[in-house]
């Protein structure tokens, strides 16, 4: 009998957009409020896992052409390079810097180097979590 997943797939198409938006909100919220790179990456990984649950592995792999092992390595590389940026200017490892800039749409915005570090953390968490779940689900 052919499995019938119409309800699950239609709910997933709407819910994944909401979860991705919410994870971006959590990621950007992390400088002053609860949130940050780790939890943003985890909720992004939850959305990807929901896609894997509703559709099959081959279909998602065709449409999201990202190697998650390379994504985790890239995230760690970005985080370490941001930490080494402080060493270049004679400060200690992982020293952070921030400044205020006038941006076209947002007006006066606080730009930090911790944001780039958080991007690296988020990429590493996404890659690791999706990899763990995919390798657990392969039982043959």
């Amino acid at each position: 009998m052919k499995p019938n997943d119409v309800i699950l797939q239609s709910v997933t198409k709407v819910a994944v957009v909401i979860i991705f938006t919410f994870s971006i909100y959590l990621f950007m919220n992390g400088h002053h409020n609860p949130g940050g790179g780790f939890i943003g990456g985890l909720s992004t990984a939850a959305a990807v896992v929901l896609l894997y649950l509703a559709f099959d592995i081959e279909k998602v792999r065709e449409n999201i052409r990202i190697d998650f092992k390379k994504l985790a390595a890239l995230g760690v590389l970005i985080a370490v390079c941001t930490g080494l940026g402080g060493v270049l200017f004679g400060e200690e490892f992982l020293t952070q810097a921030f400044g205020y800039k006038e941006l076209p749409i947002f007006g006066k915005t606080e730009l930090t180097s911790a944001l780039i570090f958080d991007t690296g953390v988020a990429l590493a968490v996404i890659g690791t979590a999706v990899n763990i779940i995919l390798s657990i689900s392969e039982d043959r």
């Binding site: 499995p3 699950l8 819910a15 979860i19 919410f22 909100y25 959590l26 919220n29 409020n33 609860p34 949130g35 939890i39 909720s43 939850a46 896992v49 929901l50 894997y52 649950l53 559709f55 099959d56 592995i57 081959e58 279909k59 779940i133 995919l134 689900s137 392969e138």
Partner: protein, 92 residues
């Protein structure tokens, strides 16, 4: 008055979570366990709502959404597991 009502409802929610935990441990079939786990998630969301009324804060609202999303995905994964015994299919 208002605070005591909130405290009483928190106690009732804690009791509900305990009863659900009994169903998770003792439940005869795995469908009972999955439903009890989903119900525990909903009760945790309700208690976080009451806590944020008590503490006059909005910091926990993100947490409610996050627990809702995670319990939704967990319920779907468990349901897939008892229906087809494979959580993520390779090729449909």
């Amino acid at each position: 008055m208002f605070k005591s009502i909130l405290f009483i409802s928190l106690c009732i929610l804690a009791l509900t979570i305990l009863l659900n935990l009994y169903r998770v441990i003792k439940g005869p079939t795995s469908s009972d366990r999955i439903q009890a786990l989903d119900s525990i998630g909903i009760n945790i969301i309700a208690s976080i709502g009451i806590f944020s009324i008590l503490f006059h804060t909005r910091a926990f609202f993100d947490l409610m959404l996050l627990i809702g999303i995670l319990s939704f995905i967990g319920t779907i994964a468990f349901a897939r597991f008892i229906e087809r015994s494979v959580v993520i299919e390779r090729n449909r």
